[in-house]
Subunit: 336 residues, 4 copies
């Protein structure tokens, strides 16, 4: 039941890359909220395919249709359901991978898990396309958090080993594309405007919650909060964030903790970084296996794939973060 | 409700650093298992305080007493409850931190979250001491996984910036102790013997599940699977693990995926690395705030603290990993 | 988050009586199942409106459209999503009840709960119409249980005080309709073919699970298992079901327990009875209140309502029972 | 995982009739609550064995020892754990039932479920004794609800077919005892002081929540809300509760709904009735089976059993109701 997330709100994501529709159900939203559909659509546009020659060539409007949960344009307390129809589905493109799993994709593991009955077309339910309904949910959570003065912003901090230089990042992606290859990268996210006290102890900490959401995005292989892996090299005297009183509240002088102590927000910006592996779809021949005969073979993945998912992953990271943070935010309300 | 974990088995951890007892309840275990109490105790001994002059001076036997869930020494299907009595509790030691939170600890955030009523003694429910009941649960899961041919092993891969050299790691810890300071590090974990097909899509992937358990260990600030953050610098052609048939099954030629594709195990060793920040308790003066008057002050944390938690964290990482993996393993049983 | 059900499979029901669509998402089904759509449709037909002049006049095809979760007509492991479009929606009919809640309906409580933003048209998410997606899920569970030799059958045992006589039940309904009034009744359900050992102790017993599903059907006000309320009048020597060996297995001589001991199935038919209140929509004037001015008024509910929901509730009871039983059945698989 | 209950607070009950201890963990309580231990103990005294010659002869102080979750006598946000030591355990008494299950008990079903490894002593985890920790949790919820003006009160409405006459109820129990037999009965419960708006739609309604908790009490075979099974015999015009404005709020003229419409409280007293079967332990010979040889035999249950559990069940019903209501009450807080 991995397609659901949340304790205080509950998101259920459904659909496959080439099924009739993908979508989401979101339960537990407050009633009376006027959805800012323009904001949702411009958020969706940030992850939409076809934005750039360096992205996938698949064309999808990705406009969510809300079939339940609204009355007069406002949330009415009932589960909110959004559908996104798959208009440019081409399941036939994938027939050849049915028996020959693509390296780095879930083809093989899904085939084993579902005993040969997985939907192999375009990664089925494991496709990056499923981040579209995640982004619908995220856009709504961002709107709700925004109304509370909480902002969620992510950016591509590193692509193909190049940090913080957009032109060079672009070059590195273009070079990968030219070579039929792909690159990964790192997305950095900041949530600010949070008050102290969100999150729960142990397995309910903000790190646990955010990590559990973020690893729901395909291609994520690591997450670190605040100084993260870098903190492992620091001394306690360097890494500890001293407290200071400022304008009648407690702040920290540095933010190596990434705004989280003991799993609970401390009121400083919540920061984390997410590692994305390079897109597994590449036009270069790779070793694979014919599953029916268990004989070695090669596979060369053509199709409409992007040489780098990182730019489109930025809103996905915001969406997953907003979902986790809003879920914790709502949970906090029952305590105070 | 952050003190519970699991979908197919359910662990609930309770207790505070200086409460009468800490402990755990584990629901959903198979009935008829003869607990290997010797193995549990030797596992507990690996995380026990007082093993080394470089560890905390607090002395606790940490012997779990099973008060329910067994009949004739075997699990009987009822929830298994283990208590560990806090015999060397000294709550008085912490009176001074009630109003002056220690940097890097959960003192401040717990105080806000619980509206001033948190148990501030020794970190209360946020203390590293709560990893003792986690280790009881983990030792049991390790036994159950072992019976299925699945092994979980972790090691300190890096301490204070020193990788893979035990003598130098020891020096770096001793130097930190001498300076009243502390160091962090990285723990590496491998689970092998797993068959392909464990885990669920999206939010139920093995990465999500393991991360949600691992961040339950205090001081963890990052986690990466397989090539992790390193994968973000690789090309797809370098990072993808080619498939090959070997002895009648599918294997991968490399293991940059850390044994997980699409959240599902692929049958290769499941590998991950965990970043631990340096122990926040240091004997050096740090900036803090008097919470009642909101005035700046300094705090110097004496007490019985270790200059590095990493060596004792190794079994904790194994325990959390075993818990997550066994939970997924049991879940897989209902599918086949 | 009341619109979800299940521990080992997860059903999420969405939609309102007059939203664009109603539907369901079902996670955790086994992969590879060829859905028997004919069986689903004939099951749906049993609850469909418009079957009889004594039923509601609203016409809906109630044909589920599966937009995800299938590949080649078989379940593929991904969440199964079915939509039922509301084709005969007439939200305008309900404008007058916005401010004057209908007695016996959820209008008033939904208005309070959702702070005035509930969808008041036709009961919104609280409408009996939401049993249509429940029946889709139930029909699938019935198919899956059937493949295991488990059958779920319910019948109207009593209507308007008349037990076991279909002609008289029909008369009683017709008389209520003529009077602009309504009648309730009792549905009896039997699940047979269950082996012993399903269910969990305490809050996870079969009674808890089935009750939690059955009260999800609107108008249910009571449930009893086996001898139920009658057992409260028996002596232990009368109520206890003696054990006997028969054909190499243990059976009971009577079945006052309704096939459940300690919450766990004992291998005998699982039996229960469900009390339905009379349809609250009646054409007789009733006392109500204008919510905006808090002044007393009267309301007379016209519209397309049935004088008795019991006949259409029979498949709904089967559906809810099948859902609960299949969920427990799948859970049992991970234990053995 | 049936031994846990709750969505917004989480109760976990552990222990067996003759294990070292029974107890409970309660997560999610507000911090800062001074537990009224006197009230808890006098509540426990109401269900304690040994109150009357007509009750079980087993003597247990049933005093809960809180080993975690408190700091300075107040809840501190950490999971609250209470132990009740089994001081008068006599597991040997039950050796003979290991192979010959007692009719009406969970002996047989537990044996099947746990593959022969269930703790058969005194019903193990299925014993009525496990209602003691339920009552600890319930007493705390009653205290918390009381502080909000919400009262939970139950009473024995019928025993052995005798309604509302305490002297006759006593006679009927004494007669059953003399005959080595037992009687059942009905407990009626009222929760008042609730505001409108508690509960969730569909599977999260107050009936679903309360039923799911109440069936956790052994020997419960039925539950009905408001007019319940009686409503099935009424006309809509009789059963509907008309609305009226009174003192600036909406009330109903009657309360056939038992204070619940569409699963949501309507502000009227929440009422329900619970059917208890007669105690299965009777001193009369009954048919049973030797499980190892599958041959028919007889069993006569001696021991320290009560001829009627209903009087002691009254506080258990209050406890389960308080738990369910408080859980919904806390959930409501996050909405407003």
């Amino acid at each position: 039941m991995g397609s659901s997330y949340g304790e205080n709100i509950k998101l259920t994501v459904f659909g496959q890359s080439h099924s009739e529709a993908i979508g989401m159900v979101l339960e537990g939203l407050p009633a009376g909220v006027l959805l800012d559909t323009e904001a949702i659509e411009s958020f969706m546009a940030r992850r939409a395919p076809g934005n750039s020659p360096l992205s996938t060539a698949r064309k999808e409007a990705d406009r969510p249709v809300f079939v339940s949960g609204l009355a007069g344009g406002r949330t009415c307390g009932a589960p909110l359901t959004a559908l996104i129809y798959n208009t440019d589905a081409r399941p036939g493109d994938y027939e050849k991978y049915r028996n020959v799993p693509r390296p780095g994709h879930a083809d093989y593991t899904a085939s084993v898990k579902y005993n040969g009955f997985a939907d192999y077309s375009g990664g089925g339910h494991f496709s990056g396309r499923l981040t579209a309904p995640l982004c619908v949910a995220g856009a709504i959570c961002i709107q709700l958090l925004g109304a509370e003065g909480i902002r969620v912003r992510a950016r591509a901090a590193e692509i193909g080993g190049v940090a913080d230089d957009e032109a060079k990042m672009h070059e590195v992606i273009a070079a990968a594309k030219a070579a039929g290859d792909s690159v990964g990268g790192i997305v950095e996210c900041v949530v600010d405007g949070l008050s102290a006290g969100l999150g729960d102890p142990m397995f309910g900490g903000m790190e646990n919650r955010i990590a559990a959401a973020i690893f729901g995005i395909p291609a994520v292989k690591g997450i670190e909060f605040g100084a993260g892996f870098g903190a492992a090299k620091l001394k306690g005297s360097e890494n500890n964030d001293g407290f200071r009183a400022e304008n009648g509240r407690v702040v920290t002088e540095t933010n190596n903790a990434g705004g989280i102590l003991g799993g609970i927000t401390d009121g400083m910006p919540l920061t984390f970084r997410v590692a994305f592996k390079p897109t597994p779809s590449i036009a270069i021949a790779q070793h694979s296996v014919e599953l029916d005969t268990l004989s070695d073979t090669e596979v060369c993945v053509g199709g409409r794939h992007a040489p780098c998912v990182v730019p489109r992953a930025v809103p996905c990271v915001e969406a997953a973060a907003a979902l986790a943070v809003y879920d914790a935010f709502i949970g906090r309300k029952r305590e105070i």
